[in-house]
Symmetry: C2
Subunit: 300 residues, 2 copies
């Protein structure tokens, strides 16, 4: 098995009621790969500028993440400034500087082309398509997207949906895609559009997974007292979900469900500290302990 | 065991995107007792006007609900007009006519005073206190309340909280009581105020139960395609929860959890039709079938 992620690698400046951090490691590919690496080491496709700190590349390497697909381009790395108030569900983007990411052209190293599990993080749909086209025979292709693309180029998102196996989305995105307010209606319409699975993310309210053959799995979120920085929760979820599946090597309903549980657990750790900090310090035993605690919390 | 509910009995006029129903049976005591009666027949304390349709009283009686405590006063019954738009979570009150309910004085029949399980539905805290004072030695007293009372007479709500065993509330009410935005923080503060259990209702996002000794149980909602009329979901939940506990006769964490599951199941049926309609037609086998389906949906 092998796991590939294409997405952004960003220097984030984040302010929350718990403090402010400047130019920390962020971006969908970073959160995804560090989270996935707790289960299975992924390969990253991305681009950074010549100013990108070596220590961040080393962080990836130390965790066994393959960075051959990370291009270093002359210029500045993608930067994002954001803030959250008391309600961690409301994110305010203060500044986005795409920099070298503006001309990102995802060309896969030869060793990446036989990847079996693929995550197309939330980037422009043409780039997602371009990566997908370079993979020879994937077992599972999953995508993320956002309002911006669904509104701006719906035909491209819909065309991708036909060809992927799984999509991660939230209620707003699902509504934009289907015009259905009811989550079941909306997920049923999405599986009709192509994917075998819809992972419907409800943030602090948990997650539901719907399969094309009518199965449903619902989980509340892991109850947390402290959410220091919600950035990267969704990509951490996806990373643990896909990392677990890649480790298992097979895709069936029980594994999809367990992937969603691991996604919930890892995302719950991520948001307890700023950026990827917690992802770098959690131990296998922390994960397992929280998994058991969560099982207790949700078991009927 | 015996189960008592004090609350409102109302003639509701409700408009939703699925239609309009006029002067149908409603009110917290009606939803609670019809829901509870699926598990254990309760006794109602309430008041109606001389115009209250006999068929509604007969509905209670046919389900084994004790109506000795329902006073019929000269005058008109409590009436409520409300509407919902596409979002079933947003309720608009168009008219409230308290009528005979304005002078409601809950005096318990002698046979009610040894009730073991007591539900103080959302009515004025002085009336809740008055009912509680008439019960000799209850095993479990549970209360509901609302923003109106928490804002209007917080000292009365807080005084009741000291003496009840369990409170049902939603996030807005929990925030008003504790000023804590985080649900765990807020529930922990509430158990410090008195009750052994907090049942934190999140509507379409499910429910969590927190115990004074630090236990947590979380459930997503039962996934529904159709919500015709959300009125009474909370009181149906409480009715099934308390009805199940009264049937069991004992209170322990496993039963509290199972009560929350039954509450979820019955409330999911209630909202599929207008008013109490579905509560009158569901069969034991429907409940059990949905219970098993729900177990599948949430089992890790």
């Amino acid at each position: 098995m092998s796991l590939l992620v294409v997405g952004s690698i960003v220097l984030d400046t984040i302010k929350t009621p718990f403090g402010k951090k400047e130019e920390i490691l962020g971006g969908s590919a970073s959160y995804f790969s560090l989270s996935a690496s707790l289960f299975f080491s992924p390969k990253i496709v991305g681009v950074v500028g010549s100013d990108f700190p070596h220590i961040f590349l080393n962080i990836f390497k130390e965790r066994g993440i393959d960075t051959e697909g990370v291009k270093v381009e002359e210029g500045r790395t993608f930067r994002w400034h954001g803030s959250y108030g008391k309600n961690p569900n409301i994110r305010k983007t203060l500044k986005t500087e795409l920099n070298v990411f503006a001309n990102f052209d995802p060309l896969l190293p030869i060793s990446y082309k036989d990847s079996t599990f693929v995550f197309l993080a939330n980037i422009q749909p043409d780039l997602q398509r371009k990566v997908m086209n370079q993979i020879k025979s994937p077992k599972l292709v999953a995508m993320d997207t956002m309002n911006h693309w669904i509104k701006g180029c719906p035909e491209k998102v819909l065309s991708l949906l036909k060809d992927v196996d799984l999509i991660f989305l939230n209620d707003e995105e699902a509504y934009l895609l289907t015009k259905k307010r009811n989550f079941l209606d909306s997920c049923e319409k999405i599986v009709e559009m192509g994917p075998k699975f819809v992972v419907f993310k409800k943030g602090e309210h948990g997650v539901s997974v719907i399969s094309k053959d009518g199965k449903i799995f619902s989980l509340p979120a892991y109850p947390l007292k402290t959410v220091k920085d919600p950035t990267g929760a969704g990509d951490s979820f996806a990373g643990a979900f896909m990392g677990y599946l890649a480790k298992e090597g097979n895709i069936d309903w029980e594994r999809i469900k367990k992937g969603a549980v691991w996604g919930t657990i890892v995302a719950s750790f991520t948001v307890e500290e700023f950026g990827v900090e917690k992802l770098l310090t959690i131990k296998k035993s922390d994960l397992e302990e929280r998994f058991e605690r969560f099982k207790e919390i949700v078991s009927i």
